[in-house]
C-alpha cells in the first residue's frame, strides 16, 4: 500500500481524496497555486508544496512542477482528481516515467476515450449502440452539409477533443449550418487546441444517464449502476441522482453490460464513467462518451451502493483485487446531489467570487456535504467556483427530496452569491418531484418560474427592515461609546502628565 499520495488538484475533490488517504492512514500531499496558500485542502494535508502562480497553466496544469513536488515529498502515487490533468495521457505517462503510480487508467485508454470520435469508434466496435452520427471528424463544410441531410435535422456539431459544453452547436436546419460549423470549429480550437468537429443526430427528449464502471488490474470489471444527470444548465450538470427515477432494473442491466463491454475494449483500470443519452420517446440508449476519471457526482453512487469509490481507486492502483463482485452490489434507497456554486442566479449565473463571511453547512440524517471551503475562505476568480456538493440520501426518492429540501433550507452562505436559491425552487417544483426529467428540464423550469407569483411575505420584509435598523442604531451607539471612552482616557492622561498618583507610596508608611 502507498505511504504517501500527492493530490494533483484543489478544492472539494482534493479534500475528498485527502479524507480517503486519512481513512487509509496514507499521508496526503497537497499542491497549491500562490493564491491557494491558505485554502482548506492545504490546511488538511500532511505536507503541501507551492507549484506556481494563479494561472492554471502555470500551476495545476504544470506537469513538471507537480512531479517535482511529488519527488520532493517522496510520494509513491499521484491522484489527479477530476478536471485539470485527470484525463491527460501525457501527464499519466510522465508520472509513470518518474517511477510513481498514477491513480487512474492507462494513458492508452485515456487517448482512445479522449477523442470523442475515436471513443465512438471504440464503443461501436465493442457492440454498443452509439448516438447516430459520424465517427470521424468532418473534413469540410460540404461533407457536413451532406451528412447532416443524410442523418436528418436537427443535428449537433461537437468538438472531438471537447467537454463541458464547449465547441457544441445545435443546428435546426440547413440555413444555420454554415455559421454553426465555423463557430464550433473556432470554439473547439480556442478551448481545446483542436478544431476537429463531428456530427450527431439530436436524440429526442434525451435523458443523460451514465454508468459508473470499475476495473482492477486483474481483469475484473463491474458496473455500479446509473446516475441520472439530466438537470443541466448550458450542458453543465447541476443536480444528479442515483438511481434514475426511470426505475427500470432491466434497463440498468442492459446499460451496465454495454458500459462494461466498452471498458473492457480499452483494458480500463480504476474508476470510469460511460455516459449515455436515453430517449424518453423511443426508450433507446446511445453511447455519448466515456470519462476516464472519477466523476464530480460520484457521492450519489457511494451513498446508494455503500462503496467508497476513492478508497477503492487507491486500493486498485496499489495492485489489490476489486473488493466486490458484480453480484455483491446492492442499490439501496435514493440519493440526490446539488452542486452549490458561487454564482449569481439573478445575474445569469455570473461567478460571484469573494470572501465567505458566514458558512453554515447542513447536517442531520442522510445529509452529506463534500465541501472545499470553510468560513473566512476566499472563493477565487481563477478557478471553478464550486463551494460544495450537497447530497441527501433517503430510503425512497420522496424522502431523499424531503431531506435535500430541508438541507438546502438550512444551508447558509454569506459574503457571496450562490446557486442555493434556485435549488430551493427546483426541489419544490412539481416536474422535479414527479421525476419527469430530460435535458430540457431547466429551460422549461425557467418558463414555469416566470409564470409563478413569488410568495412575498410582508412580515419577513418587515423583520428585515427591523434587523437592518437595529444594526444601524446599535452600530451608531457603539461608535459613540468608543468615541466617549476615548475622552475619558484623556482625563487619565492629563492626571498622569501632572504626576498625580492614586495612593500614597508604601515607603511613606514604612518610614513612620
Amino acid at each position: 500500500m502507498f505511504q504517501k499520495i500527492l493530490i494533483a488538484n484543489r478544492g472539494e475533490i482534493a479534500v475528498r481524496i485527502i479524507r480517503a488517504c486519512r481513512d487509509l492512514q496514507i499521508a496526503p500531499v497537497a499542491v497549491f497555486s500562490e493564491p491557494d496558500a491558505g485554502a482548506l485542502h492545504v490546511r488538511m494535508a500532511h505536507e503541501a508544496y507551492c507549484i506556481g502562480p494563479a494561472a492554471s497553466t502555470e500551476s495545476y496544469l504544470n506537469i513538471g512542477a507537480i512531479i517535482e513536488a511529488a519527488q520532493k515529498a517522496g510520494a509513491d502515487a499521484i491522484h489527479p482528481g477530476y478536471g485539470f490533468l485527470a484525463e491527460n495521457a501525457q501527464f499519466a505517462r510522465a508520472v509513470g516515467a518518474a517511477g510513481l503510480t498514477f491513480i487512474g487508467p492507462t494513458p492508452a485508454a485515456m487517448e482512445v476515450m479522449g477523442s470523442k470520435t475515436s471513443a465512438r469508434r471504440a464503443a461501436a466496435a465493442a457492440g454498443a449502440p452509439v448516438v447516430p452520427g459520424t465517427t470521424e471528424g468532418l473534413k469540410s463544410f460540404a461533407e457536413a452539409s451532406e451528412l447532416a441531410a443524410q442523418f436528418g435535422y436537427p443535428i449537433m456539431l461537437k468538438a472531438a477533443a471537447g467537454g463541458g459544453g464547449k465547441g457544441m452547436r445545435q443546428v435546426a436546419g440547413p440555413g444555420e449550418l454554415h455559421s454553426a460549423f465555423a463557430g464550433a470549429q473556432s470554439e473547439a480550437a480556442a478551448a481545446f487546441g483542436d478544431s476537429e468537429i463531428y456530427l450527431e443526430k439530436i436524440v429526442e427528449k434525451p435523458r443523460h444517464i451514465e454508468i459508473q464502471v470499475f476495473a482492477d488490474t486483474r481483469g475484473n470489471y463491474v458496473h455500479l449502476g446509473e446516475r441520472e444527470c439530466s438537470i443541466q444548465r448550458r450542458h453543465q450538470k447541476v443536480i444528479e441522482e442515483c438511481p434514475s427515477p426511470i426505475g427500470d432494473q432491466s434497463l440498468r442491466e442492459r446499460m451496465g453490460e454495454a458500459a462494461v463491454k466498452i471498458a473492457r475494449a480499452v483494458d480500463y483500470v480504476g474508476a470510469g464513467t460511460v455516459e449515455f443519452l436515453f430517449s424518453d420517446i423511443t426508450r433507446d440508449f446511445f453511447f455519448l462518451e466515456m470519462n476516464t476519471r472519477l466523476q464530480v457526482e460520484h457521492p450519489v453512487t457511494e451513498l446508494v451502493t455503500g462503496i467508497d469509490l476513492v478508497r477503492e481507486q487507491i486500493a486498485v492502483a496499489a495492485g489489490a483485487k476489486l473488493s466486490f463482485k458484480q453480484e455483491d452490489i446492492r442499490w439501496q434507497g435514493h440519493a440526490i446531489e446539488c452542486r452549490v456554486y458561487a454564482e449569481d442566479p439573478d445575474n445569469n449565473f455570473f461567478p460571484s467570487p469573494g470572501r465567505i463571511t458566514f458558512l453554515r453547512v447542513p447536517s442531520g440524517p442522510g445529509i452529506r456535504d463534500d465541501g472545499g471551503v470553510a468560513e473566512g475562505d476566499e472563493v477565487s476568480i481563477h478557478y471553478d467556483p464550486m463551494i460544495s456538493k450537497l447530497a441527501a440520501w433517503g430510503p425512497t426518492r420522496a424522502q431523499a427530496i424531503d431531506r435535500i429540501r430541508r438541507a438546502l433550507d438550512e444551508y447558509a452562505v454569506g459574503g457571496i452569491k450562490t446557486t442555493l436559491p434556485i435549488f430551493r425552487e427546483i426541489v419544490r417544483d412539481e416536474e422535479f418531484i414527479a421525476g419527469r426529467l430530460d435535458t430540457g428540464f431547466i429551460s422549461r423550469f425557467n418558463e414555469r418560474r416566470e409564470d409563478r407569483t413569488v410568495d412575498e411575505s410582508r412580515t419577513d420584509r418587515d423583520m428585515a427592515v427591523i434587523a437592518a435598523s437595529l444594526a444601524y442604531a446599535r452600530g451608531q451607539s457603539k461608535a459613540k461609546r468608543s468615541e466617549s471612552s476615548g475622552e475619558e482616557s484623556k482625563w487619565k492622561k492629563a492626571a498622569r502628565d501632572a504626576g498625580l498618583h492614586r495612593a500614597p507610596s508604601r515607603r511613606v508608611f514604612e518610614r513612620r
Binding site: I466, A467, R474, K478
Partner: protein
C-alpha cells in the same frame, strides 16, 4: 428612532424603540413588539408572537448604504437612511446659512433645559444639558440667534441624532 428603509424601489418609514431585549417598531402603520437576542454584531434572533426570525445583516451599516439582510434564507437588499444624519450633515457644511440644530450626540436624558423658546442667545451659550453614561454634557449654541424651538423638556429620553433645539 425614526428611519427610512429602502428595499428595491419600495420606501417605508420605521419608528422604533430599542430597549435591548425588547424592541417596539412601527412600519408603515404595522406595529410590532419583538423579543431580540443579539448573537453577534448584525446577527439577531427576533421573536414576534412566538414566530422565530433568524436575521443576519451583512456589511457595516451606514446611513444611505445598502446592506444584505437575510431573514431565514430569504435575502433582501436594504438601505437605511437616517433623516437626522442627512440634515446634520447638511448643517455642518452650511454653517452661517440658516438654522442651527442642537443634536444629541448619544442616547441619554435631558437633565436641564437652560433657555426658553424665543430667547436670544450668544454663540457658546448653553441650551440643554444631556446626561449620558454618568456624565453631563452641556450642549452649546454654535451661533448667535434666537431659540426658535425647543424639542425636548427636562426628563426626556433622547437617542443619538435626535434634534434638541433649533437656533435661528
Amino acid at each position: 428612532m425614526k428611519l427610512d428603509a429602502n428595499i428595491g424601489d419600495v420606501q417605508s418609514a420605521i419608528d422604533f424603540r430599542d430597549e435591548g431585549e425588547r424592541v417596539f417598531a412601527e412600519i408603515s402603520g404595522r406595529s410590532y413588539q419583538i423579543e431580540v437576542r443579539e448573537l453577534a454584531a448584525g446577527r439577531y434572533t427576533l421573536m414576534c408572537e412566538g414566530t422565530v426570525f433568524e436575521c443576519r445583516v451583512e456589511g457595516a451599516s451606514e446611513s444611505g448604504k445598502s446592506v444584505d439582510v437575510f431573514v431565514g434564507n430569504r435575502q433582501f437588499s436594504i438601505a437605511i437612511t437616517d433623516p437626522k444624519r442627512l440634515r446634520s450633515a447638511a448643517t455642518a457644511s452650511a454653517q452661517a446659512d440658516g438654522a442651527a440644530r442642537i443634536i444629541a450626540p448619544m442616547p441619554g436624558k435631558v437633565v436641564r433645559v437652560l433657555v426658553e423658546a424665543g430667547a436670544q442667545v450668544a454663540a457658546g451659550d448653553g441650551i440643554v444639558v444631556v446626561e449620558a453614561m454618568k456624565m453631563q454634557n452641556e450642549m452649546k449654541s454654535p451661533k448667535a440667534g434666537m431659540v426658535s424651538s425647543l424639542e425636548v423638556e427636562q426628563g426626556a429620553t433622547v437617542n443619538a441624532g435626535d434634534v434638541l433645539a433649533i437656533i435661528e
